[in-house]
Symmetry: C2
Subunit: 258 residues, 2 copies
Amino acid sequence: MTKLAIVKIGGNVLENNEELTKFLTFFAALEGTKILVHGGGKLATQMATNLGIESRMVDGRRITDAQTLQVITMVYAGLTNKNIVAQLQALDCNAIGLTGADGNTVQAHKRPIKSIDYGYVGDVDGINANTISKLLSSELTPIFCAMTHDGKGQLLNTNADTIASELAIGMSVHFDTSLYYCFEKKGVLMDITDEDSVVKHIDTNKYQQLLEQGIIADGMLPKLANCFHALNQNVHQVCIGDITMINKKSDLFTTITL
Amino acid sequence: MTKLAIVKIGGNVLENNEELTKFLTFFAALEGTKILVHGGGKLATQMATNLGIESRMVDGRRITDAQTLQVITMVYAGLTNKNIVAQLQALDCNAIGLTGADGNTVQAHKRPIKSIDYGYVGDVDGINANTISKLLSSELTPIFCAMTHDGKGQLLNTNADTIASELAIGMSVHFDTSLYYCFEKKGVLMDITDEDSVVKHIDTNKYQQLLEQGIIADGMLPKLANCFHALNQNVHQVCIGDITMINKKSDLFTTITL
């Protein structure tokens, strides 16, 4: 099976032009078949403010009303995605920017209203591995932003970590798939105040142990849940760390296996 | 050779939700291989106003400074393009939204400064017929917005009529290509006050005659120039009219040949 790297880039890297260029240079140089997934949270918040639209967050998740969805479509699928694509083209990476609506690549449904109405937020139903494989075999590198669609004409705001793990799961039918969650830290840290205290390997037992110790907490909880969700569905391995892990220039990052 | 229809949709159709839905329903039902090209002028102007950015036009052409380019990227490549894609998906048309940067499909250079500095405006150098053919043979329908790139990381605002004619020229190497300029009128009118006074057929001689009579004037001048530019470079035929011409439900539209 051909190897496929799915790389999710975190918001803090995206929002710093210098860090973004450094990341894209690493990503473009990465050999073999690859996919990039990005969100773009803070820029959307800023644009919403500029347009006089109030951003409402509940537990770190954005409430996406109709106006906010417009802003997200403009920022994620327009400004952020197309600038990444243009920069990658300049680095000789034949990038193609996508939402889940493009080529019907990521299908979702609007999250049902329970205690909170998240608005136009999508929960992923599945990905279209055949179409994505055709793009990859055309030597294109798909760049997914954090948007999906419901197949009935509605675009939906969707968590980028989830899109990355669902892509990894779906593509593992055709490829030997590795999933990289790339952010500003070097990996999962034993001590949050010590940047070098990276836990180099986490398996199912270690995961339970770190959960009990409270080492995995806050934003790391859903990220690690996504990792094990992917691993349990045939994804080869998941790595968490900064850009240097992608081409293994540094060995200081977290590898996660079952 | 397989037939290919390249359809350019005008701004006035785009900006009216009811007309847009009607158009997209026609477009989705169109049999065979097809490509859609759109701009999105007025919505970009409105969004720029909402963001406190002044829109400057010279001879009907937008001066694209850095801030305006951001707005155009958000509106053309984001809001307009992705809503068209999502709506087409709901109509069982497997649409994929593109700028010229995506897959390096439309290459351009920044227009040189002469008497007027148009800013980040692109003049098309060529299209990537191989990549577009691969998308078409993957049964995808490309939806191009009016943006290109210079291959050095710079996105460029580019006239949608020009993108459509350059796509038609470039794709005519692989396909028997027809180009449709679709707008709110039924075609080229002999009498601008009479909606039904459509000139049904224009060839090179008739074109000269209409130019001399002043029938082809204003916005029709660059459009017709684009048509003959395409016809002179192996495009099979060009049609100008409203949505009903696309599936030949009406015979009241303008056909242009050499």
